[in-house]
C-alpha cells in the first residue's frame, strides 16, 4: 500500500519536472505507465479466471473437431493459449495507461477511423469468409474481426462525446441524441453488410445505454428503439431466409434436423449436463454441436459442468459487471464513469445475448462469449476493454472519502482514509 502511495508521489514529481524540460523516452514511458492506485483485485481476478477457464473449455470443446480437421487434438488450444497470454498482458499494460489519455478528439476519432477502414476493407472483399459471413481480415498471422473492435471503439467514442457535452446539451435532440445515433447507425450498417447481425444489435443497445445514463431524453431513446425494432422486424420478415430462421427457432422440434439443428443440439448439451454435469472433458455433445468451441462454448460448460457450472459462470460475469459498475460509480469524472459503465454494459450485453442464443431464448446469430469463446479478436478486444476498466478502477479511491461516505468501503479504501486522517 505504501509503495502504491509513493509511486503516486513519484509520478507527481516526474510530472512536475517534465513540464520544465523535454522528457526523455524512458521518462515518457514511465509517465505513461505510472498508475494512480491499485487495480480492483476482484475485477482482475475475475478476468484472469475467465480467460483461463475459457482456454480449458475451448480445449474440451474443440479437441474432437481439431482431431478430425487438423489431425491434432490441441490445434485450437495451441492457438488460444498465446492469445490468452497476449490478452492478459495487454490488459495489464492498458490497466497502467491512464484512461484520461483517450479523452481526446484525436484518440477517439483515430480509433473510430481505423475501425471504419477495417470494416470497409472487410466488406470490400479483402476479408476472409467464415461462418457464412465476411467477418475476418487477415493481417499477417492475425485474423482481425473489425466488428469486435467496433464495439469497444464506439464505447470510447461515446464516453468522450457524451462527457464533452453537458447535461443541458444532452437534453437537445440535435446535439444530445442525433450525432450518437448517426454514428451508431453508420457502424451498424457496416456490420450488417458483413452480415453480422449480433454485433449490430450490441452496437445499438450500447449506444442507447450510454445515452440514457448521460441524460438523453428517454422519449427519444424509446422512440428510436421502437422504430429500430420495427425496422428490424421488417428486415427479418421480408427476407425469406431470415424469416425461415425465425420460424425454425419458434418450432425447434420440427426443424431439429435442418435450420434449428444447432440450437436444438445446444439444448441437448445443456440438458445432458443436468445439475452437476458429465465432468470436464467428458461431454459428448461436441460430436454433434457445431461451433462448440466458439459461440456455443457455454453449451459445453453446461454439459460438462452442469447447472452448477452455468450458475458459477453467470456469477463470474455478474461479479465482472458489478465491479465494473462499481468502478463507474467511483470514477473521478464523467468520462471515466461513461467508459466504465459502457465497458461493463458491453460485457453484460454480449454475455446475455450469447447465453440467450445458446439456450435458444433468442434466435441464433453468431456472437462470441467474452473471454471464453475461441477466437483471438474477441479475446484481445475484450482484454483491452478489461484493461481500460481496470485502469478506471485504479481511480476509484480518489472519489471515495468525500463524495460518497455511505458506500461500503473496501479494505484499501479504509487504509487510505486512515492515512488521510493521519
Amino acid at each position: 500500500m505504501n509503495s502504491a502511495a509513493s509511486s503516486t508521489g513519484a509520478n507527481g514529481a516526474t510530472g512536475a519536472t517534465g513540464s520544465l524540460r523535454k522528457p526523455s523516452l524512458r521518462e515518457r514511458a514511465e509517465r505513461l505507465l505510472s498508475v494512480a492506485g491499485p487495480v480492483d483485485p476482484i475485477l482482475a481476478a475475475v478476468v484472469v479466471t475467465l480467460v483461463s477457464f475459457g482456454i480449458v473449455m475451448v480445449y474440451s470443446a474443440s479437441a474432437i473437431e481439431a482431431t478430425v480437421q487438423h489431425k491434432d487434438a490441441q490445434y485450437f488450444l495451441k492457438r488460444q493459449v498465446p492469445f490468452g497470454f497476449v490478452g492478459l498482458g495487454l490488459a495489464w499494460l492498458i490497466s497502467r495507461i491512464d484512461y484520461r489519455r483517450y479523452q481526446k478528439a484525436s484518440a477517439t476519432y483515430g480509433i473510430l477511423a481505423i475501425v471504419v477502414v477495417l470494416l470497409v476493407a472487410a466488406i470490400a472483399g479483402f476479408g476472409k469468409t467464415g461462418g457464412g459471413a465476411t467477418r475476418w481480415l487477415a493481417l499477417g498471422p492475425v485474423h482481425v474481426q473489425p466488428a469486435e473492435l467496433a464495439k469497444l471503439s464506439i464505447v470510447i467514442w461515446l464516453a468522450y462525446s457524451l462527457a464533452k457535452k453537458g447535461e443541458d446539451v444532452m437534453k437537445s435532440f440535435a446535439l444530445g441524441f442525433l450525432p450518437q445515433l448517426i454514428m451508431a447507425l453508420f457502424l451498424m450498417a457496416l456490420c450488417l453488410k458483413q452480415p453480422d447481425f449480433g454485433s449490430a444489435v450490441v452496437l445499438l443497445l450500447l449506444t442507447f445505454t450510454m445515452m440514457f445514463i448521460a441524460g438523453a431524453k428517454v422519449g427519444y431513446i424509446m422512440g428510436a428503439a421502437i422504430i429500430g425494432s420495427a425496422a428490424g422486424a421488417a428486415l427479418v420478415r421480408f427476407r425469406e431466409y431470415r424469416w425461415e430462421r425465425i420460424q425454425a427457432w419458434l418450432e425447434m422440434e420440427a426443424h431439429r434436423q435442418d435450420l434449428a439443428y444447432q440450437p436444438f443440439q445446444a439444448r441437448m448439451s445443456f440438458g445432458s449436463g443436468e445439475i452437476f454435469g458429465l465432468g470436464l472433458g467428458k461431454g459428448l455433445q461436441i460430436l454433434y454441436l457445431p461451433e462448440a468451441h466458439t459461440d456455443f462454448v457455454s453449451a459445453v460448460v453446461g454439459e460438462e459442468l452442469g447447472f452448477v457450472g452455468i450458475a458459477l459462470l453467470c456469477a463470474a460475469y455478474v461479479t465482472l459487471v458489478v465491479r465494473g459498475v462499481r468502478a463507474a460509480f467511483k470514477a473521478p469524472d464523467d468520462f471515466g464513469t461513461y467508459l466504465a459503465f459502457g465497458i461493463s454494459t458491453l460485457f453484460a450485453l454480449q454475455v446475455l445475448i450469447n447465453l440467450a442464443m445458446a439456450m435458444s431464448l433468442l434466435p441464433t446469430k453468431g456472437l462470441a462469449l467474452p473471454f471464453m469463446s475461441y477466437g483471438g479478436s474477441s479475446l484481445l478486444v475484450n482484454a483491452i476493454a478489461a484493461g481500460i476498466l481496470l485502469n478506471v478502477s485504479r481511480h476509484a479511491r480518489d472519489a471515495e472519502p468525500v463524495a460518497d461516505p455511505n458506500a461500503t468501503p473496501d479494505p484499501p479504501g479504509v487504509e487510505i482514509s486512515k492515512d488521510a486522517l493521519a
Binding site: 452455468i310 450458475a311 469524472d333 446475455l352
Partner: protein, 708 residues
C-alpha cells in the same frame, strides 16, 4: 463521480441502477432457462442426446462370410457404395444469396451423374437436412462420376456428398444351398439356416465398440479402430463341399422331376466325423425371392420334414437285436410266407418267403421277420434302441426348424402291434438327417456322432476363433453288431436285393431301401397313392467314407425306394467317390443289372436308354438288361430327367375327363406326353390336372373306371 455535482450524480446512479435492473432481468431469465433445461428437464434432454449417440454408434460391422470346406464362398457381404448428401454442409460458408444458385448447380450435376430426376435431387438439396440418401447401390460408372465431382482439389467441388458403403449379402450358388444357408433380414440379422444358427459369430460385435462417431458418422477415437476388421463378424467354415452340394442338389432335383415327386432331400455325411458334406432339399424356388418366399417354400426338407421311414428301420432293429444277442447272425426266422396277423392286424410282405436269415431279411426287406425281431427286443428294448440311434430327438445340428420326429406317436408305450410295425418303420416319424446319422453309427462301428456342419470359425484377420471337433454322442451298438449289419446290407444292392439300382461297379455298397405309405393326416389312414421312397446307405462298405440318405416324398411315376431313391443314391455316391478320390476296391461287378418291370415307367426306360443306347432293351425274361458299362465317375452323368431329352418343350395337359382309354392315349401321345393307365373304362381322374404345364416326355397318370 467526485467532480460531479451531487444531484446529477444521484440522477446518473439512478439511471445506471435502472439499466442494471434491466440487465438483471435478462440474467434472471437466463438462469431460469438454464434451470429449466438442465435441472427440470435435464434427464429428458440427456435421453434425447443419448438416443442420438446410440443411433450413430450403432456401427453395422461387416458380417462374416459363410464358406464351404474348401473356402468357397456360400454367403458373403460386399460393400456396395451408396450416396448421401449433407445439404447443410453443401452451402456452409456460402452467403445466403448465392445458395439457391449453388444448390441448383449441384443438383444438376448430381442428377446427371446419378441418372436421377433433377427436381428430386433439387428438393433434397434445398431441404438443408444433414442426411438424405440420394441413391443406394451405385454402379461403377456412377461412383466414378461422383468421385470426380467431389474431388476436393477442384475449385467447384460439390461439398457435403457422402459415399457410404452398405453391406449387401450375396449368396453365390444360392440354388444349391436352398434352405441350408438361410438369409439375413434387412437389418442384418440372420433369419434362417446357418445365417441364423451362427448369427452370433457372423454378426460381429457392435457393442464392443468404444469409439465415438461425430455428426458426419466418422469414427473418431477408439482402440485400434483404424482396422474395421476388429469389429467384423467371424467367418464360418462349413463342412459342406460346395461342388458336391451342387451335384447332389442337381441329382436330387433331376430325380424329383423324373419321378414327379412332391419334394425330397438328400444328405451326404462323413460317418467317421459326423461332417455334413452336402445337404440338399428340393424343390427350390427363385433364389432371388428367397427372403420373400413363404415359409413352406423355404423349408429345408432334410431336417424339417418328418416322414415315416419304413424299411430302413429294419437295419436298426436288427442291429439292436444282434447287439443284445436276441438273434444270431445265422439264425433263420420264419417269415410266414408273406402274411402274418398280429393283434388283429395283418402284415404283408412283397416277397413271400419262408425261413430267412437276418441278411436275407434285410435284402428281401421282410416286414414280418423284422416285426418278429422287434418283438424279441420287446417294447422297451426296441424303443430304447431307436432312441439310442438318435430318433425322437434333435440331432444337435443347430439349424433352426429341425424336427425331432416322433417315436411314440400316442405318447404312451407301444402296444404289441405297434412294436411290430415300428420294427419295420411304420407308426413312427424321423427326419432325413436322423436316418443319415443313425446309418453313420452303423457305418463307423456303432458310434452315434453329432452332425457337424461347421469345421471352424475364424476371425476376419484369419485367426482361429473356434474349432468344432467331432463329437460322439454315444455308443449305440458294439462294433461287431455294426459290422455284421453292414455285411448284411451289402446284399441289398446285389442280385435279388431290393436296392440293385444302388449298385456301383467297383465299390461295395451297403444300404437299405424303404417304401412307406403315407398316412393321410385327415383320416389317419394310409393313402394308397402316396408314398415316401427312400434309400439310406454308405460306401465303401468295408471302409465307409460317405453315408448318403435320400428321401423322396410322394413320387408319382414310381414309388418303390429301390426304384426312386436308389438311383439317386447311386449318382450321388459316384459323385462323392469321384470328388473325394476314393479308389475302387477292384471288385468290379460282372453281373448284369436288371431293371425290374414290375412298374415300368418311361423314365426308367429313358434312363436306361441314355446309359446304353446301343443295347437291346428288351432282353430275355421281360427284363431290361444293361451290361454294367457304367460311365466313369468323372464323365458327366446323363440326366434322368425328361428335361434332358433333346428338344423337349412344355405342353399343356389336356382335359381327358370322360374319354376312353384309346382317345386319352391318343390325346396325350399326340402332344408328346406318356399315358400311364390304371383300371378300365372311361377317365375319371388324371394327374396332373388339366391345364398343367409339363415337359414333353413326362408321364400323365390316368385312372379309368367303368362307366356309370
Amino acid at each position: 463521480m467526485k467532480n460531479i455535482d451531487p444531484r446529477r450524480a444521484r440522477w446518473m446512479k439512478f439511471r445506471m441502477g435502472v439499466l442494471c435492473g434491466l440487465l438483471s432481468t435478462g440474467l434472471c431469465s437466463i438462469v431460469a432457462s438454464a434451470y429449466n433445461i438442465q435441472v427440470k428437464h435435464g434427464a429428458e434432454w440427456r435421453m434425447i442426446a443419448e438416443r442420438q449417440r446410440q443411433k450413430r454408434l450403432k456401427v453395422l460391422p461387416t458380417r462374416g462370410s459363410i464358406l464351404d470346406r474348401n473356402g468357397e464362398a456360400l454367403a458373403i457381404t460386399i460393400d456396395v457404395p451408396s450416396i448421401a448428401i449433407n445439404a447443410a454442409e453443401l452451402v456452409r460458408n456460402v452467403p445466403e444469396k448465392q445458395q439457391p444458385a449453388l444448390q441448383d448447380a449441384a443438383a444438376a450435376k448430381l442428377a446427371t451423374a446419378l441418372n436421377l430426376p433433377f427436381p428430386e435431387v433439387q428438393a433434397k438439396l434445398k431441404s438443408k437436412r444433414r442426411f438424405a440418401w440420394l441413391k443406394r447401390r451405385l454402379s461403377q460408372d456412377e461412383i466414378t462420376a461422383v468421385r470426380a465431382m467431389i474431388d476436393p482439389r477442384k475449385p467447384d467441388a460439390v461439398k457435403g456428398v457422402m459415399i457410404e458403403g452398405e453391406g449387401h449379402r450375396f449368396y453365390p450358388g444360392r440354388e444349391a444351398l436352398w434352405g441350408l444357408v438361410g438369409y439375413v433380414s434387412g437389418d442384418g440379422s440372420g433369419i434362417d439356416g446357418v445365417e441364423r444358427a451362427f448369427d452370433e459369430d457372423l454378426r460381429g460385435r457392435p457393442d464392443e465398440i468404444s469409439a465415438l462417431r461425430d455428426r458426419k458418422g466418422t469414427v473418431l477415437f477408439g482402440d485400434g479402430l483404424e482396422d474395421e476388421r476388429a469389429l467384423a463378424g467371424d467367418d464360418v467354415h462349413l463342412t459342406v463341399d460346395l461342388g458336391l452340394q451342387f451335384q447332389v442338389q442337381e441329382d436330387l432335383e433331376a430325380g424329383l422331376r423324373a419321378f414327379e415327386a412332391k419334394s425330397g432331400s438328400a444328405i451326404v455325411i462323413d460317418p467317421n466325423t459326423g461332417e455334413i458334406l452336402a445337404m440338399a432339399s428340393a424343390p427350390v424356388y427363385n433364389p432371388n425371392d428367397y427372403g420373400d418366399a413363404p415359409i413352406e417354400a423355404r423349408r429345408n426338407h432334410a431336417i424339417a420334414d418328418r416322414v415315416e421311414p419304413g424299411s430302413t428301420m429294419k437295419i436298426f432293429t436288427i442291429a439292436a437285436a444282434l447287439a443284445e444277442g436276441k438273434i444270431k447272425p445265422t439264425e433263420e426266422i420264419y417269415c410266414e410266407n408273406g402274411s402274418w396277423t398280429i393283434g388283429g392286424v395283418t402284415i404283408h410282405d412283397t416277397h413271400h418267403e419262408g425261413m430267412l436269415a437276418p441278411a436275407s431279411i434285410i435284402s428281401k426287406s421282410s416286414n414280418i421277420c423284422a416285426a418278429k425281431i422287434g418283438l424279441l427286443l420287446g417294447e422297451q428294448g426296441l424303443y430304447s434302441a431307436f432312441k439310442r440311434f438318435g430318433f425322437g430327438e434333435t440331432t444337435g445340428l443347430g439349424l433352426p426348424g429341425e424336427a425331432a420326429g416322433v417315436l411314440r406317436a400316442r405318447g404312451r408305450p407301444w402296444y404289441e402291434v405297434e412294436v411290430a410295425s415300428a420294427s419295420f418303420g411304420q407308426g413312427i416319424s424321423v427326419t432325413t438327417l436322423q436316418l443319415g446319422m443313425a446309418m453313420s453309427a452303423i457305418a463307423n462301428g456303432g458310434k452315434l456322432m453329432e452332425p457337424r456342419l461347421v469345421r471352424t470359425v475364424t476371425g476376419a484377420t484369419g485367426q482361429l476363433v473356434r474349432e468344432e471337433l467331432p463329437t460322439v454322442r454315444r455308443e449305440v451298438v458294439p462294433a461287431f453288431a455294426a459290422r455284421m449289419v453292414t455285411e448284411m446290407m451289402t446284399g441289398v444292392v446285389e442280385e435279388g436285393g431290393t436296392g440293385r439300382e444302388a449298385h456301383i461297379p467297383g465299390y461295395r455298397v451297403a444300404g437299405k431301401t424303404a417304401t412307406a405309405q403315407k398316412a393321410d393326416p385327415a383320416t389317419g389312414k394310409y393313402d394308397p397313392d402316396k408314398f415316401v421312397a427312400s434309400f439310406v446307405g454308405f460306401v465303401p462298405a468295408q471302409k465307409p467314407r460317405f453315408v448318403i440318405a435320400v428321401v423322396v416324398d410322394e413320387p408319382w411315376i414310381a414309388h418303390l425306394g429301390g426304384q426312386v431313391a436308389a438311383p439317386i443314391f447311386r449318382r450321388i455316391a459316384m459323385r462323392a467317390l469321384a470328388r473325394f478320390g476314393v479308389a475302387p476296391s477292384g471288385e468290379v461287378a460282372k453281373t448284369a443289372v436288371t431293371f425290374p418291370l414290375e412298374d415300368p415307367t418311361p423314365l426308367v426306360y429313358a434312363e436306361a436308354k441314355a446309359m446304353a443306347p446301343d443295347v437291346d432293351l428288351t432282353g430275355p425274361g421281360g427284363s431290361v438288361v444293361a451290361p454294367m458299362t457304367a460311365p466313369s465317375a468323372f464323365a458327366p452323368l446323363p440326366a434322368s430327367s425328361p428335361s434332358a431329352l433333346p428338344g423337349a418343350q412344355r405342353v399343356i395337359v389336356p382335359d381327358l375327363g370322360g374319354m376312353g382309354a384309346r382317345d386319352a392315349a391318343h390325346a396325350l401321345v399326340s402332344i408328346g406326353l406318356l399315358p400311364v393307365f390304371d383300371g378300365t373304362g372311361s377317365v375319371t381322374r388324371q394327374e396332373p390336372a388339366p391345364g398343367t404345364l409339363l415337359l414333353q416326355g413326362s408321364a400323365v397318370r390316368v385312372r379309368l373306371s367303368p362307366g356309370s
